[in-house]
């Protein structure tokens, strides 16, 4: 290749190098990365479930979360103690009406755990049929309704609102701290692992048989990151004078909401007593 010295002293090539004239025929060989793809999808799902986007997809909760939880607790108690299926059927009708107001994706998310719980309890209870238990479907049916109710309340309620509601019903602060931290760390560490996995995937050009070896490095890095996050959290707590004590923010009493919840609770208990034959 002929090179001439330029006036300023720099060397300028006068001809195009040969290698640049050849087209690049490199095509990376096929690689198996199903585990990477599946892990990334699973972590993304988890982050979506716990992360802020969860708050955005749902409608703004207009009621009182604490009252919701108490009402749910009462209805679960009544369903469990009901002798006939009439009262659980009534609750099922109410739950179906609430579900019908949501969109299809949310309905699927709510029904899924209830169906799993129903199937699992069916498997557990089924042998009692051979012992002469003709009402063997009653228990799975009750489980379906209770899980459906819990699933509905958990889906429509933002997680930070649940923390507030837990405090309002005098759950110990340490429990709420653990609950809060767990959710935040799932999101933080989930993001960290997700970024590491994506970078591993992007850097694995062609066939890379050593991807599995990187898993230990990813877990190790995540562990080190968790230490950093823990220190950062501690410093943030100190800066904000947070001692792990949660004070439930007292909102201005919305009496119409309380009255509505009160009427709902009385109606619920009244229906239970009537349908179970205690009154009327």
């Amino acid at each position: 290749m002929e090179i001439k010295k330029h006036a300023e002293g720099a060397y300028m090539p006068t001809a195009i190098p040969d290698w640049i004239l050849h087209s690049d025929t490199y095509s990376p060989s096929a690689d198996k990365e199903a585990f990477l793809r599946k892990t990334i999808a699973a972590i993304s799902r988890t982050i979506t479930f716990f992360g802020p986007s969860r708050y955005q997809v749902q409608k703004r909760h207009r009621g009182n979360i604490t009252a919701d939880l108490l009402l749910l607790f009462v209805s679960v108690l009544l369903i469990v103690s009901a002798h006939s299926v009439v009262f659980p059927l009534l609750i099922l009708a109410i739950e179906l009406v609430y579900l019908a107001a949501l969109d299809g994706k949310q309905i699927r998310g709510i029904i899924k755990p209830a169906v799993i719980a129903f199937c699992f309890s069916c498997v557990l209870v089924f042998p009692s049929l051979f012992l002469g238990n003709n009402r063997w479907m009653e228990l799975p049916f009750k489980i379906f309704i209770t899980v459906l109710g819990v699933s509905y309340v958990s889906r429509i309620t933002p997680l930070y609102e649940i923390s507030r509601a837990l405090r309002a019903v005098h759950i110990p602060c340490i429990f709420i701290l653990v609950w809060d931290m767990t959710i935040k760390y799932i999101i933080l560490l989930g993001h960290t692992i997700l970024h590491l996995l994506i970078s591993l995937r992007l850097r694995s050009v062609g066939k890379n048989d050593h991807k599995y070896q990187s898993m230990a490095a990813i877990m190790g890095t995540t562990f080190l990151k968790s230490q950093e996050y823990a220190k950062d959290t501690y410093h943030a707590m100190v800066c904000r004078c947070f001692t792990g004590t949660y004070e439930a923010a007292v909102r201005q009493a919305d009496w119409s909401t309380y009255i509505m919840y009160g009427i709902a609770a009385v109606l619920l208990i009244g229906c239970y007593l009537f349908l179970e034959g205690y009154i009327g």
Partner: protein
């Protein structure tokens, strides 16, 4: 028009089911191509309307009852294929949860009410709309189409009933399944529909169609807005009024239990026996048998059944809509 189990032979039921299978398949394919994703939940609301209309039993002077179906209404709003799917799912819920219509005869019931009724109603409407292209003509077309639709469906159901004693009898000459031949079943089924259920179907179809046209024109036209709240409001009103269906105390013709059938005098005198397969045939215990809940007053049970049925149908089609990968938007 809901044919119970054991009124049709298993072979008849199998034939009807086999006839419906390609219709369901083709309907699903057509709906995927023609109905946009945002209109899928409307099929559920249409199915819920159909379900509610079927709960309003009308008393017939001979002591039986009849009811509207609403198949033509859904066909006019969303097309006959969507109507076929909507009414089929409504019938499925009725059969499995409320014991209204048989499990074995599900295919036959779908053939009559989910295929014949909406398709006849829809194409009669299209024909009449071309013949009388005016606003009044449009309303007349809706009335006549829905009237003809339910009557043709009732006629087909009558034929299904009527061929049973011609084909299936025991050694003593007693019918094994439905005991009434064509010359009894056809007038018994078609007269109440010609005089009462047909009129109810026509009036309900026109009234609801006009209501939807005013409050939510987007259901009918792609350019308009789809407002679900007025439709849900109408559905809630129908649920609240559903106990009116209990005022008709009799059983619809061809939907009797064994003892009622033995005492029935459609042949001019009491039948005097319970056909063998009806007495000892397939039995299914539904969760809400005949829209009642044991331990609850009948009207309350009826309302509870209406709520469960309507909500289930809306939920089913919303879930299907969320998993739907067909047309995203209208072209």
């Amino acid at each position: 028009m809901h044919i119970p189990d054991n009124y049709l032979s298993p072979s008849t039921c199998a034939v009807m089911f086999a006839a419906m299978t390609p219709i369901w398949y083709y309907s699903v394919q057509k709906v995927k191509k023609t109905v946009t994703q945002d209109k899928i939940p409307l099929i559920g609301i249409g199915a819920a309307f159909s379900f509610m209309l079927m709960m309003f039993n009308l008393p017939i002077p001979n002591g039986t009852t009849a009811h509207a179906v609403g198949g033509t209404l859904i066909a006019l709003l969303l097309g006959p294929y969507a109507a076929c799917i909507a009414v089929s799912v409504a019938l499925l819920i009725q059969a499995f949860i409320f014991g209204d219509g048989g499990i074995l005869s599900f295919g036959a019931n779908c053939f009559n009410m989910a295929f014949i009724l909406p398709f006849v109603g829809f194409y009669v409407y299209r024909f009449l709309n071309r013949v009388i292209p005016s606003k009044v003509g449009h309303k007349i077309a809706i009335l006549i189409a829905s009237y003809i639709g339910i009557n043709v469906a009732a006629f087909v159901a009558a034929v299904e009933f009527g061929i049973q004693p011609l084909l299936f009898v025991d050694s003593a000459g007693h019918a094994l399944y439905c005991p009434y031949p064509l010359w009894i079943s056809i007038p018994a089924m078609t007269l109440p529909h010609l005089l009462f259920a047909g009129v109810a179907e026509a009036v309900f179809t026109l009234a609801i169609y006009e209501f939807i046209g005013r409050v939510s024109p987007g259901v009918m036209y792609d350019a308009g807005k789809i407002k679900l709240n007025p439709l849900i409001g109408l559905l809630v009103a129908l649920i609240c009024l559903s106990p009116l269906g209990l005022l008709a105390s009799g059983t619809a013709w061809g939907e009797w239990g064994g003892n009622e059938l033995a005492a029935d005098a459609s042949l001019g005198k009491a039948l005097g026996y319970i056909p063998d397969k009806i007495a000892h045939g397939f039995e299914y215990e539904a969760l809400f048998p005949d829209y009642t809940v044991s331990g609850m007053a009948e009207p309350l049970g009826y309302i509870l059944s209406a709520i469960v049925g309507a909500a289930l149908l809306v939920i089913i089609f919303k879930v299907i809509g969320s998993m739907y990968h067909g047309n995203k938007k209208a072209c």
